[in-house]
């Protein structure tokens, strides 16, 4: 394989290589009969970039499959070189543009070295011999042409949009509808979203040169690789086309220049199953420490905050059948009953069962002393739910009648209960069904009602969970009431009806954002 690149095109090639360097550590050079491709893939195989240069890009292009060294090699022209070796060749695109007259590229006959011979304007010749790592090709499977969504815009639009995101922003979500498009920062559940700046930019379809949306969807992909493409497109001033179907399927960004070259970046997108839960909910749950709170025993004067939290959660047990089913699908292990600690633990999809069981064991470590030794596993499983729900009632009353902290806590509890009540009121029918389920078929209960709570109540929970450190470990658990009280309690309890609910006996002494 031999080819000559004219000086004017060296800048493009240099930028292409620099762009590829931002993707992966190895450069695949794959010449074909009529074109040459430079490709790279990242280590996690989640981003792939390919730059294909057609014959017209070269001043001279000759491709003949060289004699195979052994018969198993079909075409030993394809090779892979280290990015570290070739970056110095293309270090300064600007300088290359000004000084290079042409660049000859060839693969040595023995297939061991890739040679770049650059001729500079002064007569200086610079030759680079880059060692070939191995002869292997990169194969990627993707389709672009039948993507259901396709957007084409000038690179300026994308660059200006992406500029608004912080340089450390890792992933963004592109949502398209037929009316508008939005690009917003994506945070996974591990980071508290209320503590992190998030950005959303809305774009109108008219800003695009081509806007075809057949499937309204949202895809989340990595910004770093997208920026690498934009850097290339900006330097060459092209427009960028995005083709995608839906989350989980790769998105293809393409930059084309007439018939001369084409760049494609294929980025993987997050699967929607992982992405469907409200961010804050998952995050809040993950912040929840595993503190024991299920147990029998005497009335507890102070309600540990986590209890309150769990009660609020539990009160929002409004499973719609659809949610329930979906979650069961994903967590068949839950079907067998509620792992004890699960209402306090993040139920992020994709979490392995082993994680859950670890948590389970933590909790049992804390509470084993509390429980009746003869409780069976089945009972244990069923109990948490009713207990926590009932605790709400008990705790509410205790709040009011008891403690220094009580009223304040009661307030917080009350407000969250109010919200949950509203939810419950609107889901009255579900309520009944749920309570029946609880009483009769608790084994079938799946915890992920967490998924259902609305965001505002979740944020209240967030604050409550700040008080975790005030909890006295292994404090006695509140009284457990019988499930029968559940229906009456849920539908008629309104904390604002209780006199004195808004009297604060003593202000909280700890720091907290009021």
């Amino acid at each position: 394989m031999k080819c000559t690149i004219p000086g004017a095109n060296m800048k493009v090639l240099a930028r292409a290589v620099q762009s590829l360097a931002r993707i992966g550590d190895e450069l695949y050079v794959e010449p074909d009969a009529n074109s040459m491709s430079f490709r790279s893939v990242n280590s996690s195989r989640s981003a792939y970039a390919s730059f294909t240069f057609n014959r017209s890009f070269f001043a001279f292009y000759k491709h003949e499959p060289s004699q195979p060294i052994n018969s198993s090699q079909e075409d030993s022209c394809k090779c892979k070189i280290s990015m570290k070796s070739c970056l110095p060749v293309f270090r300064s695109p600007v300088m290359l543009d000004r000084k290079v007259e042409n660049c000859k590229m060839r693969l040595e006959d023995d297939g061991c070295k890739l040679v770049f011979e650059m001729k500079f304007r002064m007569g200086i010749a610079k030759t680079h011999f880059l060692p070939v790592i191995e002869c292997e090709t990169l194969q990627v499977v993707y389709t672009k042409d039948d993507a259901s969504n396709s957007l084409l815009a000038q690179v300026q639009l994308f660059s200006d949009t992406v500029q608004n995101f912080h340089s450390t922003q890792e992933e963004v979500t592109l949502s398209v509808t037929s009316q508008k498009t939005s690009l917003r920062s994506y945070t996974d559940g591990s980071i508290n979203p209320s503590k992190r700046k998030s950005t959303e930019i809305l774009l109108d379809p008219v800003e695009f040169d081509k806007y075809v949306v057949n499937n309204e969807t949202a895809i989340t992909f990595s910004l770093k690789e997208f920026r690498a493409l934009l850097a290339f497109a900006e330097a060459t001033g092209q427009s960028v086309e995005a083709s995608f179907d839906s989350g989980g399927k790769p998105v293809v960004f393409a930059v084309k220049h007439e018939n001369t070259y084409e760049a494609s970046f294929v980025l993987s997108t997050l699967s929607p199953e992982i992405d469907s839960t409200p961010q804050r909910m998952r995050e809040q749950n993950s912040n929840t420490p595993v503190v024991s709170s299920v147990g029998t025993g005497a009335k507890e004067p102070t309600i540990p905050p986590n209890m309150r939290q769990s009660t609020s959660v539990a009160s929002r047990i409004n499973l719609t059948p659809s949610n329930e089913n979906r979650l069961e699908e994903h967590f068949p292990e839950l079907r067998g009953g509620t792992p004890r600690g699960i209402e306090r633990v993040s139920v992020r999809k994709g979490e392995s069962p082993s994680l859950l069981s670890n948590i389970r064991s933590d909790k049992s470590g804390n509470t084993s002393s509390r429980h009746h030794p003869d409780q069976t596993r089945g009972e244990k499983r069923s109990r948490p739910l009713e207990r926590t729900v009932n605790n709400q009632e008990g705790s509410a009353q205790e709040d009011i009648h008891n403690n220094t902290h009580a009223s304040f806590q009661g307030n917080r509890l009350n407000s969250s209960c109010v919200l949950s009540n509203r939810m419950m009121a609107s889901n009255a029918i579900n309520q009944e069904r749920t309570s029946k389920d609880l009483s009769s078929a608790q084994q079938d209960f799946n915890t992920p009602p967490l998924m259902m709570s609305n965001a505002s109540s979740v944020s209240l929970q967030l604050r409550e969970s700040d008080y975790e450190d005030d909890t006295v470990a292994s404090s006695p658990q509140p009284v457990r009431k019988r499930p029968r009280l559940l229906d009456i309690f849920d539908s008629t309890f309104d904390p604002t009806n209780i006199p004195g609910h808004d009297i604060i006996i003593a202000d909280d002494s700890g720091d907290e954002p009021s």
Partner: protein
């Protein structure tokens, strides 16, 4: 300015008194050779020379001839002392801008501090820098007697060539020959090999006098400090002798004055390996 030109009765004690119109000349030359902290200053009737040496392998000298100075008085045969160049640089830089600063240097002799007086407009800065016992420096001048090959080039493009030498490489090989390749620099590293060929009819070569093939390897870390004077210079002359001693001579033009820097580099002698 008048302060600097006062007839000083103390001048009689000074073995060296010199005044410069602009501090910039001295400052830039010092910056170019400041790859070690200390340097030795020689004052002769021809002018001032500042020399820096490293590991007995490389030596750089900056020359400011006496016609660059406004006044230059030397009252002794030879004046030699070692001084901390970083401190000297700082002092010369101490006024806010280095334009239009006049400088007066005075030195009373062995053991005395080097005194500097700088004036800019109506503000005056005085410095006194301790001097040290000078060390024995290698005399590379004997090498210039048996030059085999010599090339004179314009520095412009050579700057980039030197700056782009593979940083991962340990050695750089200089090949000079009357035949092809005329002038070749090559490096080897795990990232690959790189070769720069400069033909003798290249525009940037002003003179090419090569008698026979010389090839020698030099440590890249020894060649790198030469990039600074190269970037300042307009012209450079590269010469080697039979022992492989590499000599760069740079012609630098600062504010209508010519300064010269010489840079010597000893080759790596291979015993058995490549």
């Amino acid at each position: 300015m008048s302060l600097l030109h006062q007839p000083e009765h103390v001048d009689d004690d000074n073995v060296l008194v010199a005044t410069l119109d602009s501090v910039k000349v001295l400052l830039q030359l010092l910056k170019a050779i400041n790859f070690r902290e200390c340097g030795i200053i020689f004052a002769t009737e021809k002018g001032l020379k500042v020399t820096v040496e490293d590991s007995k392998s490389i030596q750089a000298s900056a020359f400011i001839s006496e016609d660059v100075f406004e006044t230059y008085t030397l009252n002794a045969e030879e004046v030699v002392f070692k001084i901390n160049l970083n401190v000297l640089k700082e002092c010369l830089n101490s006024m806010s801008s280095s334009n239009y600063i006049a400088l007066k240097i005075s030195y009373k002799g062995y053991g005395d501090s080097l005194r500097l007086i700088m004036s800019q407009g109506s503000s005056i800065t005085g410095c006194s820098i301790k001097t040290m016992e000078p060390e024995q420096m290698l005399d590379f001048h004997t090498g210039t007697l048996n030059i085999i090959n010599k090339v004179m080039l314009r520095s412009e493009y050579l700057k980039e060539v030197f700056n782009e030498l593979d940083p991962m490489a340990e050695y750089v090989e200089f090949i000079l020959s009357p035949n092809t390749p005329y002038f070749r620099l090559s490096t080897h590293s795990i990232g690959g090999d790189c070769r720069v060929d400069i033909p003798k009819d290249c525009d940037m070569i002003e003179s090419f006098q090569c008698t026979s093939l010389t090839a020698a390897k030099y440590k890249l870390s020894h060649i790198k400090p030469s990039c600074k004077p190269l970037s300042l210079s307009q012209k450079v002359s590269i010469s080697t002798d039979e022992r492989g001693l590499l000599c760069f001579q740079y012609m630098i033009r600062i504010e209508n004055y010519n300064g010269y820097i010489e840079y010597y580099c000893t080759p790596i002698v291979d015993s058995y390996d490549d």
